[in-house]
Amino acid sequence: MNAVFYLLAVLTIGGGLAAVLLKHLVHCALATTVAFSGLALLYLQLDAQFAGFAQILVYIGAVAILIVFAILLTRGSDLPQDGVFSRSWSVGFVIAAGVFAVLAWAVMQSVRAVPQQTAVPAVTVHDIGNALVGRYVLPLEIVALLLTAATIGAVIVAMHENGRPK
């Protein structure tokens, strides 16, 4: 546990908290991007370079842009009159706190039982590519199909009805 880990943890958690609590939707989207970057840096800290750069490409590059587009297309940048939290917000926060308490308790209880490999795994992108087209080729094909279906589905769902603009 070094200072870099604590710094990245604070960045990630702070970004997540800001994303959930801020009033303005555009600020929330920016805070989400901060949280995504913190996670990508945590992946790099965990010696998972490929996952870290995939996180940067997919989340900061694509998902954050999609969120900003959705906010601007739905005029979400206007502030709502009756508050940003739903009526039962206190129940939601209590449930979330309870879930965190249970998870943290489980982690602290099992911390002695889990194995602690300290050597840096010697895994290159070459190995990941080999695994993707070898052992994991069927999941890869299914993900390719899923991404195609999702792209077509998203376009059809968001398209104007009968193909003509309103």
Binding site: A19, V20, F36, I67, F100, M108, P139, G153, K166
Partner: protein, 107 residues
């Protein structure tokens, strides 16, 4: 703070906190886009768990946790595209993205 000395526990606690924050976002916000952001944060917390277990677990050369995380990132990207497309479609029908005001399934 003796438990915090193991790196894996630290990463797992960060992931648990991020998951709880995402869950809170999905439960308490009115806006549908913010609910989707909360879901994305929860998915990312799960990915952090997978990568941490891959790094500190036995036999990392099998790449199991890493592959789980990579496929999960791909599926999350598809989920975000479809979810935000649905939000835009609902906004066109009802002129709102406030979940309290979207109270009927009929278009």
């Amino acid at each position: 703070m003796t438990g915090m000395t193991t790196p894996l526990a630290g990463y797992l606690l960060v992931a648990a906190l991020l998951f709880a924050i995402g869950l809170a976002g999905a439960l308490v916000r009115r806006n549908a886009i913010l609910v989707l952001i909360g879901i994305e944060l929860m998915l990312n917390a799960a990915n952090l768990n997978l990568i941490a277990f891959w790094r500190y677990g036995p036999r990392p050369e099998l790449l199991t946790g890493m592959m789980f995380a990579i496929f999960s990132i791909a599926v999350a990207a598809a989920e975000a595209a479809v979810g935000l497309g649905l939000v835009i479609a609902i906004h066109r029908h009802t002129n709102t993205t406030e979940l309290d005001k979207i109270n009927r399934l009929k278009g």
